[in-house]
Symmetry: C2
Subunit: 521 residues, 2 copies
């Protein structure tokens, strides 16, 4: 059995404490789980084993993987900074398959539809499981029970926590790099495949036993300023193309045109203004979705009109966030990924557009991180319950279709706001029981829907401040009743509830098991 | 006994393999010692233990040290980026003394005359020993046997190797930071005490159990671009002054005016030109001494006249190196420390002036480092023997007066050139037996003196290329005979040779014991 030793955790969820043969700690509640022991540490290397001239280029990725000792059961780390334009990740498993390797664990920072071909390797035993997000096809495959092992879903911060803590040991990290030198120094901000930032790869760089850099733009040493440090790199591989540029970054990111979504954005911004959340010197993370971008435009305008300056705007960055920086309404962009060409330009040119590692921004097993210093964060959800608990990975039909991304991490911000529609395709977003619990309701402060705005009862300060507002402040119960009256009670979806049908677990930011995802029948 | 289990190492030196109660490996020869085991790793922290608002400021350094659990026998890491203007390091030991703490190990990246007050703490048992360089007064005190423990001398690269490998465990690192935020992000490039770069502190930041940032310029979060990452910092202390600005960086660094030194520089540059060492695309490190700066000026002129561009110039940086960058004769400055105000300005303003960690530049237990990629390096020495072996820490009278600095690390460059006078104050620089062996002669290629230039016989390529040169190419034996004829045979200095009188050991870049330093009687 993939999962065993089930217990009920502090969120009331029945979860396994033995997953893929490894012991797990059940979720104990917020700020309850205290890690023990020391950080992971790779073997000590020596310059003796690396060329004096610094040239680590080998002829192919296959050769590099062989030199790294690729073998059955190893864990391979990759990163999603090339997004749906990635031409590197799948190749690793093509090579492994050709070598007859079995039971690999793939630990990507995220997967995209372009990674659909991994399904065949999950089917033939080349890959045992994915520890990482599964958007679209891979998630669907997993939901129907296609994966041999149990998938492990982690937030971006949770992934680096697990790597740092030695819970997820990366044997070989393959870092796709838009520009690199032969020593392995690399950056995402230059080259035809420029994606801006490589911050998802830093944890792998530090903690993986072997590191391969794959580039389509090799330049003379030193590739500077570097994002990846060649001192941690074993081999460099030069290929024709690491990605498809137009799928790596969009030319432009776009604000929503939907009247409903525009209303959500307007109300969100108005709420922030009335509640006094938007003010001089704050830190904000609005995100890159269509509604979020619209919220960002409102913030831009309000900051400017009030002659306020936000101290920082958190990425993923877009042309709109860059506009805010260049228009002087924010001091710094702190950034883990660049979504469009303007953002890539900005991170290359503007010293106040800072490329960050997930280790700084989101790691919960750190001496503090940036999430709890952020004043306003705008997030989404696939489902919420009336206790403000949220789901972002599955839909109400049980299908696993999204990654956690930075969602769990961002819940630690001071004011977490979810502008979401009450229903999608006549499926309610506010439900009695979440299909999957991804984040505890204690951390979600405000839910903005087209039929009213609910404030978490724990936030008595906000409830007090919004007394007398012209905005439609309601309760989650009221929203729930409204959506039920519109959509009716949905049919019970065909999802297993058996222990042996757990296909994935959801980890919390501290490495504990928050919930599990069952097979769709 | 501080040192025990003596053996003869591969350099023919009798060295202890038990030092301060710790097992040591004797020097085995170049590229012979292979490290075993895993890198050091501190305990896993959690955000639970750090304030949600990120404010780690405590009222004083004493409070921070107490909160870090300062106790007998701990090792304290500090860094010399404030040079002789440092007002922080001594304070740590004043506090420890007031607390009645005993037997601390002080592991500075370097010490300066301003640290003379540590002598009283070495005398009263507050400090057991120094593992780090001892310039001037502290070295003299050590030479006369004043230190309770045995001093351990390491190069800059050797210090980070030892920290990374767990051989030198830093319990508490105190990082003096010219600018910081309350989360602990810090930079050296801003503030009244700006020193440019904090690259000596990075190893401590990663590997120390507890990290304290001390600043006199606290700014709102985020302090960006950061050199020190607050995620690794436990406490922040704000003081009036961390240093004396005019002693931290000089207003300007100065080229030598000595006719003898100018001749050494001219010959060095001419040698590089004639031997074809200076060419387009190379990497150079000229250093910041008076002679070195003059060599740099010659290089600048030659590069410019030939329309060549060096790919990188290694710091420590000075106005002259900055001039080369701004004049377009080098692409990048790779830098560990900034020596003057122009260098500080450059690292703050110029994206091609890169602040580096010693981990990148010099660490021998890394997957390669930058030293072996450097084409020309200019170094000094206090003594050389006729086999090109070099000493940089003691004088011929036996007194320990200098740190190793990056000297051992830089020996790994492709062409190591030492422009040095044949004698100083009528004491020969070329000797029969080195007072202390700091670097194997195999790695020193060219010695330029005012009476001739000696090429290491191992460099048959250079000997061949310099045939017919107008420069006075001689042998080391010839130089030795010449200096002896001028200075006569010096008196045998009053230095002990007894095992129990070892006051310090010299480590090689791989952590092995290269030589030891005996008490001066």
């Amino acid at each position: 059995m993939k999962c065993d030793k089930f217990v009920v955790n502090a969120a009331g969820k029945r979860v396994p404490t033995l997953v893929n043969g490894m012991e797990m700690v059940p979720y104990l509640g917020l700020k309850k789980h205290r890690p023990v022991g020391k950080k992971a540490s790779p073997f000590i290397p020596t310059c003796i084993d690396y060329p004096d001239d610094g040239d680590k280029v080998v002829s192919s990725l296959a050769e590099a993987l062989k030199k790294c000792g690729l073998k059955d059961g190893m864990t391979i780390g990759t990163h999603h900074h090339l997004r749906d334009g990635d031409l590197v990740s799948n190749t690793i498993f093509d090579i492994a398959h050709d070598m007859g390797i079995k039971d690999l664990v793939w630990a990507p920072t995220a997967s995209f539809p372009c990674n659909e071909s991994i399904i065949k390797y999950l089917g033939d035993g080349t890959v045992n499981r994915i520890e990482g997000s599964m958007n679209g096809p891979l998630g669907r495959f997993t939901s129907y029970g296609g994966m041999k092992g149990c998938a492990v879903l982690r937030s971006h911060g949770g992934r680096v926590q697990a790597i740092q803590d030695g819970e997820l040991k990366i044997d070989i990290a393959v870092i796709a790099a838009p520009t690199a030198d032969s020593f392995g120094n690399a950056t995402g901000s230059e080259g035809v495949s420029a994606c801006g930032i490589l911050g998802y790869s830093l944890a792998d760089m530090f903690y993986a036993e072997k590191v391969i850099v794959v580039t389509d733009n090799l330049i003379p040493f030193p590739c500077m300023p570097f994002q990846i440090q060649g001192n941690y790199v074993d081999y460099v591989v030069v290929v024709d193309k690491i990605g498809i540029p137009e799928k790596i970054v969009s030319g432009t990111t776009q604000v929503t045109k939907s009247p409903d979504r525009l209303l959500l954005a307007e109300w969100t911004a108005q709420f922030c203004a009335e509640a006094g959340l938007l003010k001089d010197g704050i830190g904000i993370q609005t995100g890159a979705g269509g509604t979020s971008l619209s919220v960002g435009l409102h913030f831009h305008e309000q900051l400017k009109n009030n002659k306020w300056k936000a101290r920082f705007g958190f990425g993923g960055s877009t042309q709109y966030l860059v506009n805010m920086l260049e228009d002087g309404v924010i001091d710094y962009i702190l950034d883990g990924q660049a979504f469009d060409l303007e953002a890539v330009r900005s991170v290359r040119e503007n010293r106040n557009h800072i490329d960050l590692s997930v280790l700084q921004a989101y790691n919960y097993h750190s001496k503090g991180n940036y999430t709890s210093l952020t004043d306003i964060v705008i997030l989404g959800a696939t489902e919420l319950d009336t206790n403000f608990n949220g789901n972002v990975v599955t839909h109400s039909d049980g299908l696993l279709l999204h990654g956690i991304g930075g969602w769990q991490n961002c819940l630690h911000a001071r004011n977490v706001i979810l502008p979401i529609p009450l229903f999608r395709d006549r499926i309610p977003v506010i439900v009695d029981n979440l299909t999957t619990l991804c984040g505890p309701g204690e951390l979600i402060d405000i839910v903005v829907t087209e039929r009213g705005i609910a404030i978490n009862p724990l936030r008595t300060d906000l409830i007090y401040r919004m007394k007398g507002s012209s905005l439609p402040i309601v309760t989650m119960q009221e929203l729930k009743e409204e959506v039920d009256s519109i959509c009716g009670k949905p049919d019970k979806p065909p999802i297993s509830t058996k222990d042996e049908d757990v296909v994935a677990i959801v980890k919390w930011v501290d490495g504990t098991v928050l919930d599990c995802i069952y097979k769709v029948l």
